[in-house]
Amino acid sequence: MNMLKKKSFLDIITYVILIVVAITCIFPVFWMLSSSLKTNEEIFKNMSLLPETWQWGNYAEAFLKAKFGMYFLNSLFYTIVGVGAIVIITSMAAYAFARLEFWGKNILFFLLISTLLIPIPGAFVPLYLLLKSLHLLDTRTGLLLCYISGGIAFGLFLLKSFFEDLPKEIEEAALIDGCSRFGIYWKIALPLAKPAVATLVIIQCLNIWNEFLLALVVLQDTSKMPIQRGLMVFQGTHMTDYPLLMAGLTIATVPIVIIYLLLQKHIVKGITAGAVKG
């Protein structure tokens, strides 16, 4: 009896702590959503949890007048092209490192994933100079190249071990049937690597969609800016237009939260693979 009491008391404490922390996690996001649907007067005068009347018009204004629609499309472009390129480039290389023989294989692999282990803070300074000398400063291509190269080490690390664990027999059979090496990679190995590719895609989507510092250094032209940068531009010029700012924040957050909720298992896998193995 005493044991049972003690156990249920512990359970109550557990739930109280977990629920309090959960509310602390959610409240700021809820507050952003709620404030994005208020009028400016409401923001300044009262602190009701929900808006008096829901101002959906704020979103129309945010998309068009505040240009968050344009920033959103830019972010979508950078994320899709960047992640696509990362997947193709790193899966090709990872397949080669896992399966093929070539000169200097081990040294090249450790060189390529070394950026995972060595912190290089302030790399944005030489990247700025590099893009300048390549005449790629303030271009979409320049920013994309930074993003793609930033994803290579993690992609290689994740995919190489996955390719190594795939059974060799199917590939050997295909080779005997006269399939080319590239054909085997493209038609057999890559489709089999779907779970690992999914993890890579999600982690890189988060990285590119949420990236700010490189976008700050590389871009000047507002029409090319991703949404994280656009938010700071808006905030700098409309200091106190909180409903529109909160609408912009929501627009920047919704896609990432949807992807997160749909595919959270893959994200957790990516995080723990990177951390526990590394």
Binding site: F102, T115, L130, S149
Partner: protein, 293 residues
Amino acid sequence: MISSRKEKTFNLLFIVPALVLFLVFNLYPLLRTIQLSFFEWNGIDKDMLFIGFAQYKHIIFSNPAFWKSMWNAAYITLLCLTLQNGLALLLAILVNRQIKGENIFRVIFFLPPVLSGIVVGLIWKFIYDGNFGILNTCLISLGFEQFKDFAWLSEIKTALSSVAVVHMWKGFGYGFIIFLAGLQTIPNELYESAEVDGANKWQQFINVTVPSMIPVFTMVSVLTVLGAMQIFDLIYSMTQGGPAGHTDVPITKIYQYMNNGEFGYSTAMAVVFGMLLLIVSLIQFYVSKKIKN
């Protein structure tokens, strides 16, 4: 599978795109950083002035603002290592008690790490706002009248801690997920045999959980240090380093010098900062190895 010479060369084509990008956008910038750190250069002139270690000397011995920014980041880091990781571990242990709704808590706790630094910074800037932030409204309604119009992010006393709180809010879910994954890899038999030996829950925690978790503790603390020391987006969106440099961190300093066209000086600062980070990480791995043996 044995490959011929010709094949070995052809196979290299698979890694060429990755290798080229790595050489141009990772390796070259690293070497360029080291090279530039020995020159005085504004990024425009044709001529770069070689000045040896002069910039390093200046940064290390005569730049209190840099050390102030290091201290600020270290302060945030220490709070994260203790409070944030302590909370993350506690939550992981609680969720690991096979409670109902484990997955819901997991999803909720990992929500802040998924959000961007800019989004989180701007939401919290709004919450902290002196005049119409909800934090002060709550405090005043609880009877703390002194917080009327109190601007958390522009007061010297509170700015840095306020930013640190947001960084911890954004980061604890990350440690939580890794701790939980680590806890779940500890085989149940270890606990069972400890129980047979008469160990109570606390003794089981000290004798089974802690030793098995040392590699995970190391990993989380290294990631915490690297993340907190290199904090930028939150600072940039909440305080821009203010008031008067009280929330400046190394990356904002490097960015400021670069923006002033002092390319040589900013790269030297990046090298000093990078070396310090590397040393701290190595010490952490070394200490964890010592403890394990």
